[in-house]
Amino acid sequence: MIKRKSEPYLYLIPALTIVILFVYYPFVKTIISSFFKVDIYGNLKEFVAFNNYLKLFSNQNFYRAFSQTLLHTLMYVPISIFIGLGLAFVSNQKSHFSRVYETLFTLSMAISVSIACQIFRMIYNPSYGLLAKTFGINIAWLTNKQYALFAVTFILIWIQIGFNYIYLSASLKNIPEDIIESANIDGAGFFRKLFHIYIPMISSSLFYLIVTSIITGLTMITPVLILTEGGPQRSTQTMIYNMYVYAYNNSNYAMAYTYGVVVFFLVAIIVAINFSFERKSVFYR
């Protein structure tokens, strides 16, 4: 580690300048506004202290959106990482894994969430969709409140798998061969190698994926906006979606700002918990 007083700050200046100007400066304004009444033109009216927060926390829909967002994240993070890791292991056994498969697995990286949603809208359609016509599965994926959230989560998992796969297989290939060889000589089985070599050696990559996926999971909105608009029967409303509705559909800026602040702190707490484990469980060479 280098110890020099001013040099590291120089490297941080570009990033910090932009982040302060375009994220924190407006966000501080948002926090301040959340303590006021705000009219439809965005002007602050009267100071209401924590009134907006009280309103938010006494709103049934907030808890509903919170638990649905959490459920989405609990499915999205582990499944997308697990599948990505599985594929990375398979492709690490170089022999029978062609470039064609590699490209197929990772192609989702090239597709934006909104295009993916349009594709899945067709796949899910119960009258002419791929699932209904080809496999005869006649389920109204996006209009049945039992399935809609899973259907939305699935799209995001599908998109994320490509990146997780390529990123984790990069990490796997970076593991020094001699370590694995010596384990092989010791006669270690796959699971022993998995938990004692592979996982620790790629823990920094896994940590990155877990943290960033948690953030994207908890701030999910795009497919809900495009495909379900929170429905049916509010079953796909997420926190950010509700915030969006307050801001743009209902011009209720005070509530939107309050929502934004609450989401920020909820995510920050969850991420901070993750980081508290970093030193203990993440291994950096």
């Binding site: 280098i2 990033a15 932009i18 966000f27 934006s112 349009q118 297989s169 990069a170 920094s204 701030t219």
Partner: protein, 241 residues
Amino acid sequence: MTTQEITDINTFILPKSFRNWSNFKEVFAMTDMNRLFINSMIVAVVGTVGRIITSTLAAFAFAFFDFKGKKFWFSFLMGSMMVPGDVLIFSNYVTVSRLGMMGSYLGIIIVYLVFANYIFMLRQHMMSLPRELFEAAKIDGCSNFRFFLTTVIPLSGSILVSVFLSSFVGLWNIYLWPLLVTNTNEMRTIQVGISMLSSAEQLSWGPIMAATLIALLPTVIIFTISQKFIVKGLTAGAVKG
């Protein structure tokens, strides 16, 4: 492809009338696709290069230096990922307008110049680079910045390609912000062009899909090229520590 064909699953895979290119012609007749294409390209490439510069520098500081407030500044940057973008839009519009950047590429790009996700990703990578390299460079009397340029950057090749790819796709697809800060048809991006082809109450799936394909093309091409580099970079350039 006509709407009937699109709703018919048998032609969904291989639409017949795709071959007569009528949808593509319609797309080019309705919008100045060439110009929109160039605009999106500039935004995506310049924005991505900017992001790579800001994030490699920041990651370098976090991975190789020990300084006061390191934890705080790292959390500070990470926190920027957790601020919901929708509450920032109006304020940022005001800022960009005061800076006199309305209607310019810079106005579109500037808010995207830092994505903390990439700082984090590069930090993770740089932290796993062998420390011996650094000691060796120091003994050679190499300055920190030179070490960054000549050793850290080349060793981050495959990660940088991943960052480039993911950032390019992201910026290629931005829609609302470029729409807000530009006011002329000449400055619009390709995603705005696609939206222009459809109206809320009328369906013309054919041209929309054709435009979507055009819009998808560069990301798929860049993806295919860079994917090769990622794999190559991993197997050939990886430093076994």
